[in-house]
Symmetry: C2
Subunit: 289 residues, 2 copies
């Protein structure tokens, strides 16, 4: 189906549930509806994961979780002023992402599965985490479209050497960042526009070539996920052109990386990269929360 | 006065207010009552500072702030389930720390002042931030007293190269950490004991000599604040003795450092190091909040 035919969070969830939507959920799919990263863990790891998010809210903004252990169809909210019902009233965690990843004892056992009905157990807890698509819509509206959206590519993402604050079993993980190039003169506006998105990574964490160095990123042309940045309008993204610099945000891949590093036992589930679960709340509903 | 004569948060505040308590507020002063770091800013910086704390809750756990701009005698709570009145019912921000620091346009203009009545204006906003004394009491109760408390010295504190997530005017700051040495075999217990103190820095952020390297600390014997660690029971703290290793926590000096780096204009006020404001809530009141 053409992604433009779907316009609300619940419509996207129902399309994924029926199997008519199987592709990535770009920010144009249901503009301004929150998209969420999904992580599903055995219940014994839930408290530590909740704490990991609380201690690292910029890369790991926790929006909601299963209302109780084993709940795949109702949410408990982590957003003050919003209920789980308001975040997503008709939801089935097992079917509502277009594609899923399945890990057994830390090893990938299924990639881009259509659903996780067979893998979900009464001992699983689902966590929904904010996604940077939210602020991309705002950047576009303000005439500052991220370069990868203009070129219809995936946002480049990089591992960094910035440690997360550990929480229980989750130790040794580092920030993952997403990158969007901007002119130096645009950076303060980009910071201002994305600052209110406090539950979806908010303002950038670093910018410029010095910023890249401080994150421990060696080569901007070699992202760890997503597509490599390309030249646009004769403007390459490298140190030869100091007019255009990389700008880095906390990225929702971070909690997935933390989970992978923790060496968890049992079945861990998540959405496939870019195949998010859409929610019923919109960006403006969570401003300032 | 002997510090052992005071036993509640409000008693300490009243003693500081009267001027009978002028020294540091050790964790034995009113055991298990929360102690708070104080930062007072011109109101135009309040929103950015609030965001800095929200984005960096481990080193900058925001407990409460002035109930409105200019309020020095009533608090608005940032702790779910607790009101400002419950956090401290009879408080005067201008007098209730034993000693204060005064900065004008980023330059120290008074050190260890007895009060800030002359400096406080109707445009100031006070912020109270959690302090590691809380979990030290728990470590002592569990038979794991921090070495500096045994030796009646100040905890050593270090600048690191771990960046804070920026927020508005607050850019370029890094974590400050406090350090307590422990045997390797004790680290998991130390992590478990301090983990519940989520509003007062919680569990350590790094440990061991590799952990020290990852924070960018070059020399454990040269803290940036507090007293240098000493040998205890024939156990030095250096790489020659791999049995005892440094353990690092987020430190409430971090937000002060961030404020100093931000180049703020106007009058900024704070408590003098170690001369905290005590609150009416106790450690167990804020567990799990």
């Amino acid at each position: 189906m053409a992604i433009e035919q779907v316009s609300t969070g619940v419509a996207v969830r129902l399309a994924a549930r029926k199997g008519t939507l199987t592709g990535v959920t770009s920010s144009s799919l249901a503009p301004s509806f929150l998209q969420a990263n999904l992580i599903v863990l055995p219940s014994r790891y839930a408290a530590d994961f909740r704490l990991l998010c609380a201690r690292n809210p910029v890369p790991c903004p926790l929006l909601a979780e299963s209302s109780q252990i084993g709940s795949h169809d109702s949410l408990k909210s982590h957003l003050a002023g919003l209920t789980g019902q308001q975040i997503a009233s008709d939801i089935d965690i097992r079917h509502d992402a277009p594609r899923y990843m399945v890990y057994l004892d830390g090893v990938l056992s299924a990639s881009h599965a259509g659903n996780i009905a067979a893998e979900w157990t009464e001992d699983h807890v689902a966590f929904l985490i904010g996604c940077s698509y939210s602020f991309e819509t705002a950047l576009i509206k303000n005439g500052l479209p991220p370069r990868h959206t203009v070129m219809q590519r995936n946002v480049p993402m990089y591992r960094t050497n910035i440690p997360l604050c550990p929480a229980g079993v989750f130790t040794g993980a580092t920030y993952v960042v997403s990158m969007r190039p901007y002119e130096r003169s645009e950076i303060e506006r980009v910071r201002d526009i994305t600052r209110p998105f406090v539950t979806t990574h908010g303002e950038p964490i670093a910018w410029g070539w010095d910023g890249m160095n401080s994150l421990g990123i060696a080569d901007i042309s070699k992202p760890d996920w997503g597509d490599a940045p390309l030249e646009l309008d004769g403007q390459p993204l490298d140190r030869s052109n100091d007019n255009i610099v990389p700008v880095f945000w906390g990225c929702g891949v971070t909690p997935q990386e933390a989970v992978m590093r923790a060496g968890l036992k049992g079945t861990v589930l998540g959405h496939a990269p870019g195949h998010m679960i859409l929610l019923d709340v919109k960006d403006e509903d969570v401003f300032g929360i």
